[in-house]
Symmetry: C2
Subunit: 458 residues, 2 copies
């Protein structure tokens, strides 16, 4: 039998050493930031009961769940009549579990199951893969990581402040300068619907104006007409679409534009407080872009909403989130409000690659390779190896007696910055020759000196 070459499932990827080093570079910056702000890590199982997952992501989401076949004789309850009825009718008979689709529903499930042990406000972060049976395409995978931070159990707008500060810190650490953190408030959108005479229709309004960036105001108006907004309502929106100025000026305008909407004014008030908090913290709100038409699709947001876009790259949004009033209601626990957001690591990776922002010493692996010519050199090298590692210097001894060129090639491919060469002369003098592969300099010295050189870095 011919052996088939193995392949990867569609939409999944291996991460080799270089990709892992780069991904860890991103993860570490995000994790350090979450921790600096007092968020604690949570991990939930990859599998959840389908009863936990289904109905939470809309019909399309249910379709995109990866379901796990029951163990053993999974077909035992399926009848010929079931076959006629089709796949969805029999699903509950062959599958009880599915793979995590996002980190929010498992978090809500965790809060409900552990509500008495958790001390509130509960600030948690979670960095784990999720799975979606989406059609794979560039930048869209069937397995990808989400990095979420949420705080539940408080309405304090200090949390909104902290999210903005965390995004700012992560981007600063990543060296990303040209980006915009957009902020809006769902209550403002509710207010807009009210004052243009379409009270209660903010969802439809959001769906349409969410496309403003992509299709322009003319097309959005057509869509609003299709969605049966009156021409008065649509023309009432004009000043909003044209709204320019500083954040303070926009808030000022809205306090009068939304004067007849209590909810709208509440939204304005909340946003103003967030800007005040930024100032009290000692920062300035000029890294925030108040965008009155930022809508974000998810209907469970009830307060602030955020979105982060990197400018001048092919990939747009790399982070987003918002405040919700009722995270755990679907599981029967009412009144757990909170605010959260998510970093899209795969997208940040692509952005850093496009902008060439990964550090050049990214592999940061082995610092020294010990090379040698013969059995004696190997013996001597083992002692050298021991000393290097005792000094916490990542080091390797080339494992086989090989041509020195082959050993150097190994160092080169692994981006190892220093090579120690051990010949008979070095052994005789109880020295080592240390070669810096970046500068090309090579010098004989005591091992102690070599360790100091390596610690100084390249």
């Amino acid at each position: 039998m011919a052996i088939q070459k193995p392949t990867l499932p569609k939409g999944t990827r291996d991460f080799g050493p270089l990709q892992m080093a780069r991904r860890n570079y991103i993860f570490d910056i995000i994790k350090d930031t979450f921790k600096l702000f007092g968020y604690q890590q949570l991990e939930t199982p990859s599998m959840e009961n389908l009863s936990t997952l289904t109905g939470k992501y809309g019909d399309e989401g249910d379709q995109l769940l990866f379901k796990i076949l029951n163990s053993g004789d999974y077909l035992k309850d399926v009848t010929a009549a079931d076959l006629e009825a089709g796949a969805s009718a029999t699903l509950s008979k062959v599958s009880e579990k599915g793979l995590r689709y996002d980190l929010t529903v498992p978090f809500a499930r965790y809060v409900v199951m552990n509500r008495n042990e958790i001390s509130y406000p509960f600030k948690r972060f979670q960095i784990q893969p999720v799975w979606r049976a989406d059609r794979p395409q560039r930048g869209r995978y069937r397995e990808f990581y989400q990095c979420d931070a949420d705080v539940v159990g408080t309405d304090s707008l200090v949390c909104e402040l902290e999210i903005l500060l965390m995004i700012k810190r992560v981007f600063a650490q990543l060296g990303l300068k040209d980006y915009a953190i957009k902020i809006n408030n769902r209550k403002i959108l509710t207010g807009l619907a009210e004052v243009i005479g379409s009270a209660g229709r903010e969802s439809d309004l959001c769906v349409a104006i969410d496309k403003l960036d992509k299709i322009g105001w003319e097309k959005v108006q057509e869509e609003l007409v299709q969605r049966e907004f009156s021409s008065d309502a649509i023309s009432n929106l004009n000043p909003i679409i044209d709204l320019k100025g500083s954040n303070a000026e926009k808030l000022e305008f809205l306090s009068s534009f939304l004067a007849s909407s209590e909810t709208g004014l509440k939204g304005v008030e909340e946003l103003r407080e967030v800007f005040d908090l930024i100032e009290q913290y000692g920062d300035t709100e000029d890294f925030i872009d108040f965008d009155v038409v930022l809508a974000r699709g998810l209907s469970y947001y009830t307060g602030a909403i955020f979105e982060v876009k990197v400018n001048n790259v092919s990939i747009g949004s790399v982070s987003g989130g918002g405040r919700y009033d009722n995270l755990t209601g679907v599981f029967g626990l009412e009144g757990v409000s909170g605010v959260g957001f998510s970093f899209g690591v795969d997208r940040i990776y692509d952005v850093l690659e496009e902008l060439d922002l990964f550090p050049s010493d990214q592999l940061k692996g082995t610092q020294v390779l010990i090379t040698y010519f013969d059995e004696e050199g190997k013996k001597y090298g083992l002692k050298v190896l021991n000393q290097l590692r005792s000094n916490e210097i990542p080091a390797e001894l080339y494992p086989d007696i090989s041509k020195i060129k082959k050993q150097f090639t190994y160092a080169d491919k692994k981006q190892i910055p220093f090579v120690i060469v051990i010949g008979s002369e070095e052994i005789e003098k109880s020295e080592v020759s240390l070669k810096n592969l970046i500068t090309g300099n090579q010098k004989a010295m005591s091992l102690k000196q070599a360790i100091e050189e390596v610690k100084k870095g390249v």
Copy 2:
């Protein structure tokens, strides 16, 4: 409709903040060690094609694979006749993918797919969850992490040396002192089978003597009889079962006992070289226990085999591995030899818990909680917060104006060692009151002083 309380799938677990901190403590020590020894990280997808997974773990393993239902109308190819034929006959029609069962097969698949890009020797480590549809019981889960390190592309016994050193380092860092690293060599077992007159039957021999620890020599003899070993063969084993002495003495004995087996002597020679390498490295082999009857089940080992047991705890083996001649043969790529091993993190966790070896400051999260009484205190607190974080001190401001007792309870539950209290007096004097929750001391001081105190630690 009553909402059902959510539950977790059988055999899976959430890891809350304390468990995560403890798990990360273990992962970090293992990762640092792998890196110190020049291993590079790899991650593979959670899903693999079933064609990659099946047939690699024996019939029982195939049963324990979690299979993923094909997307869309997964039943479209299933006929009524298929239903009669049963689950295994239709499997290929409803499922094409499965969840990773271990890290070895995905690694082999990776090596085959990337064989031209990899520079050998390739030292990789991989820390990811695996899934097995096993019956859950104490210490056995359906989702658990494996931590593997393998080096492929070299026969050098320096790799065996390094594995022993890595295990030693990890255990030292974890504070685990009372443990035994057992080592043997499959070639010695092959030799044993030869010299007792049962050439070629080392697999059966291994299965039986593997149980020596558990059931004793008498019962093992019974099993050998059942497995049709002759009484001569069995009695020939006696000196091996009784073998005592230092590693060197055992090797000495075996060089004569196995004198008629070329393979056996090769095994002795390899082990001797490993011990020599340890000495050349500047260590002593007294942390290694040469165990002639260590067998390990997996049949693909061809050289050294290892197993690590922690003494005086309920859980035994926490790590194991060995050398193999042909990792990738199942995928049509011959001659990729290597050696690897795996840490059982869940078991190490249980051992550390049983022995109370987790560090007491394990949460190592927020260092300072800022508490206050009123709006003015909150404003002042925000500036303090900014200063703390600018000094890279993980800090939080209690988000709501609440009773001071509630704020302290929050600090307490989160194991936050310092609390800053901000009252009107502190604001007036431009100071803060810093309370050390471990010692109970509280003192007013400048923020600069407080930052120094916190940096000094508790």
